[in-house]
């Protein structure tokens, strides 16, 4: 009984849903502030300490706004899509190790579930875009799915190489492997890390791959018709997506939440969370600096780039891993 309550609390509060939402909103602030500084601006400043509460204000405001469902939209789908998007990302977060080597939910093959959940997010975007019955939304939804077809294959190859090294399709096991050997996988998966950063940019739809919601081209893409709570859901889902993406990358290549710890139970866990935050923030900063210093690709260029360069590179990565295994390096 007590175990069940503790598990529910873990899922709902720490390190589960609430923690994920708060951390995701803080990361949005980090990203916005960092980008503003690259652009020689200040960024959010007056909401809380250096504007740290800005994303919270945005979300609460959107929450309290009128919720419009366009007359011509498919009401059921239009309502389901935002929830589906947020839910898929929050579930993904439970699979990522944060407080210890093992995540809250871990089983053999959870990496595949992560990949599937990212597709669910895309499906939510597609449903949202197509059901709102707006031309820009439809184009945005179409682009979002096309782009997903482009980056998913190389990303899965990179996941496969990591899984091959650790001999397990479980994210927690991969982290455990890195702890055991003491070498983060980035040592072997240099190319994979680059591919994963680029695919991550496409996954979270940021410049240069913010094609599905390109503001100057198609207003806000599949988000155009959403307002109020539904937009807040998507906004939040977008932030959690950034956290999840950074978390997966940190777990795969940088050893997740692991680092030197003294071995005292509670102190260990606090240190793990701090290591997790440091590693993911570094990834967020890398993403933000790429985002700030490039222009947006066209959908054709993006997809052909993924197929022409990233897919062969990811296969090369896989081959390198095979070779390393063959010669007994890993």
């Amino acid at each position: 009984m007590l175990d069940a309550i503790i598990t529910i609390l873990q899922v709902l509060i720490f390190p589960g849903v609430l923690f994920a939402i708060i951390l995701a909103l803080l990361y949005e602030w980090v990203e916005r502030k960092f980008k503003a500084r690259l652009q020689n601006r200040i960024g959010p400043l007056y909401t809380g300490w250096h504007g740290i509460l800005q994303p919270f204000a945005d979300i609460i405001k959107l929450w309290s706004k009128e919720d419009i469902v366009p007359a011509e939209a498919d009401k059921t789908m239009f309502t389901i899509a935002p929830m589906l998007a947020l839910a898929s990302q929050l579930i993904s977060f439970l699979i990522i190790p944060v407080v210890s080597v093992y995540a809250l939910v871990h089983f053999e093959g959870d990496l595949a579930l992560l990949a599937f959940l990212s597709t669910v997010y895309l499906i939510a975007a597609g449903i949202g875009g197509l059901s709102s019955n707006n031309r820009f939304s439809a184009i945005g939804a179409g682009r979002s799915i096309i782009q997903h077809v482009g980056y998913e294959i190389p990303l899965l190859f990179v996941y496969a190489s990591a899984a091959f090294i650790a001999q397990s399709w479980s994210l927690s096991k991969i982290v455990e492997y890195q702890v055991k050997t003491g070498v983060p996988l980035i040592a072997f998966l240099g190319i994979g890390f680059g591919i994963s950063i680029i695919s991550l940019l496409a996954f979270i739809e940021r410049i240069p791959f913010d094609i599905p919601e390109a503001e100057t081209e198609i207003v806000a893409g599949w988000l155009t018709e959403f307002s109020g709570k539904k937009y807040a859901f998507f906004w939040l889902a977008d932030d959690v997506q950034l956290l999840v993406g950074a978390g997966i990358t940190a777990a795969l290549f940088l050893g997740g939440p692991c680092g030197p710890v003294p071995g005292i139970p509670i102190v260990d866990e606090i240190l793990y969370v701090i290591y997790f935050i440091i590693k993911t923030v570094i990834i967020v900063l890398i993403l933000a600096s790429i985002e700030a210093s490039s222009a947006r690709y066209k959908i054709t260029q993006a997809v052909s780039g993924f197929w022409k360069y990233l897919t062969p590179l990811s296969i090369l990565q896989l081959l390198i891993v095979f070779a390393l295994r063959l010669y007994g390096v890993i």
Partner: protein
């Protein structure tokens, strides 16, 4: 040969630089040069009521309104003074230029936002 992320180096330099932002309204605005054309101000003591400003105003912002009477050799002549609607004003300073009594000047006041249009009228 195209370069990837060619601008990044320069952008990263901005991190150590002070932001170009001026924290208005908590700091004074960047610069307000001499001769800035802001809200109109009329010295009604100097004004002779000739109405030239109302005639040249391209936006019909200046209207001559009657404020009283003046006696000239036993006859009552109405005295007119300009009334300016800043909500229509273009801040071109043409009125200040033609004013023979130099009664009209353009101040440096630029924070003119108001909730009601009536607040924007300069009455004699």
């Amino acid at each position: 040969m195209p370069r990837v992320l060619a601008f990044l180096k320069d952008f990263l330099k901005n991190l150590s630089k002070k932001p170009a932002t001026i924290k208005y309204p908590f700091e004074p605005p960047s610069q307000l040069p001499e001769g800035f054309r802001g809200k109109i101000s009329i010295d009604y003591n100097k004004c002779v009521g000739c109405g030239l400003c109302a005639r040249v105003c391209p936006a019909f912002a200046i209207e001559m309104v009657q404020v009283g009477f003046r006696e000239v050799s036993g006859k009552k002549i109405p005295v007119r003074k300009p009334r300016v609607d800043v909500g229509k004003c273009l801040f071109c300073a043409q009125c200040a230029e033609v004013c023979p009594a130099k009664a009209i000047t353009l101040t440096k006041k630029f924070e003119l936002a108001s909730e009601k249009k009536e607040d924007l009228i300069v009455q004699p």
